[in-house]
Symmetry: C2
Subunit: 298 residues, 2 copies
Amino acid sequence: MELRHLKYFKTVAEELHFGRAARRLKMAQPPLSLQIRQLEEEMGVLLFHRTKRNVELSEEGKVFLEKVNQILENLDEAIETVRRLNRGEVGEIAVGFIATVAYGILPTIIKHYRHKYPEVHVELKQLTSAEQLKALKEETIQIAILSEPTDSEEINFEVIRKEPFVIALPKEHPLATETSPIELIRLANEPFIITGRKANQNHYDMVINSCYQEGFSPIIKQETEEMFTVLSLVAAGIGIALVPSSMQLLLQNDVVYRNIKDCKFNTVTAIAWISENRSPVVHTFIKLVRDSVIPILS
Amino acid sequence: MELRHLKYFKTVAEELHFGRAARRLKMAQPPLSLQIRQLEEEMGVLLFHRTKRNVELSEEGKVFLEKVNQILENLDEAIETVRRLNRGEVGEIAVGFIATVAYGILPTIIKHYRHKYPEVHVELKQLTSAEQLKALKEETIQIAILSEPTDSEEINFEVIRKEPFVIALPKEHPLATETSPIELIRLANEPFIITGRKANQNHYDMVINSCYQEGFSPIIKQETEEMFTVLSLVAAGIGIALVPSSMQLLLQNDVVYRNIKDCKFNTVTAIAWISENRSPVVHTFIKLVRDSVIPILS
DNA sequence: CTAAATTAATACTTTATATATATTAATTAT
DNA sequence: ATAATTAATATATATAAAGTATTAATTTAG
């Protein structure tokens, strides 16, 4: 028995006429008659009562028709499901992200993705860059959005944004009134607030390095876990900070942001995934970030 | 796509090895590889990740495997159901019967049938013979158990029992003491109780005829609807009656039954069905009545 | 480190069978 | 009575499934 037999049976059962059924199936009548007979022989059951002039379904045929309809429907559904799975239209994806993207880039990405792939369940996990690399390998996340692209065989990186540092100053700070970019050296005696090296190694090292290159070592007044906390402390007048440009949108009432003259360091945001991951959901996600989100952001 | 493809896919997915799968399918490996590739091409989806040395299911393949298993199972079930339907092992049947068979032959038949075909739903309808013939034509019953076999093109009859009349007498009746068969003529002056011609035409006519052949016209004291009522009235001493032999088992405390000398008339019980009815349930029922019930009863 | 074994894929041949054509027997409608 | 329509039959053709032999790549064992 083959699907062909079932499809032929369905058509004949619907038409109750071998000639018409054959026409609908775009084949000749004799092979159709033969195939139906084969089906009946294999099942050991007469599915049609035929006279020389008339064809009707037997009781068995009626029951079989119902079941066959169900089966053919299920099969079509199964194929469609698999195809959608293959196109990355259904499924699940877990996305890790660092705290700093939670205010700007991440909501944009997720909004776009949800709109285009409403049937994929997205799970979001806020993690540090290091935790994300671990999570990728353990497959608890499939996509990482982080700030520490490192060379690796098993993990692919793609930079999705580069942004310069800006200086965050308390509203009342003397430098707050200046409008032109400020040389970094002028912060040599200022108290720095910064996220701890453990929480954001890349950022920490870049801040230290950029100061070092300008000829001074920054006075670290306070370390925090979250970038947002850094800004809160700046707002409270505890000190100043170097933060990624995209942070400018936050706490604008209490914090003044100033560009750095000849800023050589950029905060890099990258998307990462396991190289050998062939999941369509993952790749449509990456593609969406690449094709539509980056142009919008830059 | 054909069922073959699904079955091959299932086997390869289970074995994760083309060679073993081919062996299990009793075919060579190359055609199997080809068929799987065809399936993948038609679906537009890679179901397996193959290396030169290893085969594993893709995510899509895993999902498809589940669905395919379900579909193949459903198909097997459908075929089995149809076959059982064809063997008369499942389904429904409505059986009409006359009141007189309700005490002896009918319970026996139904008990046997239920035992052999527990999955057929049997509906029982007590009807007169005439009503049953009508019901057969209207297809509200498929089997009739009645007492009036008539010649008919569209309805088949098969006699399942012939039983002589016996005389039913009140316990105190003078004839009750006789042990040898009694001549019918001796009832010439007795008051007869009988089921009305409308309720049981065949029986009524036979009683009248048998008396007529012995040279007298019976005195009809009382007509009833049911044969059982006849016996009740006999028990009450209202009169005597001629009843089918199988009635002897009823009211034995109050009614005495005596054989008739040279009894020429028999109550005939027959099973009837629409000639063109090809339903297996109906024919297995008839076969069961013919093959097993009749020997037990006679 | 080489040789044997095992894997899936490829090229080609054989076989099976699905389909098509032509025709027939039976039935119905005009 | 005749034409039209039905499903079935006989036969031929075309498709494609399965088989055979071989290969390339990889792993395992000596």
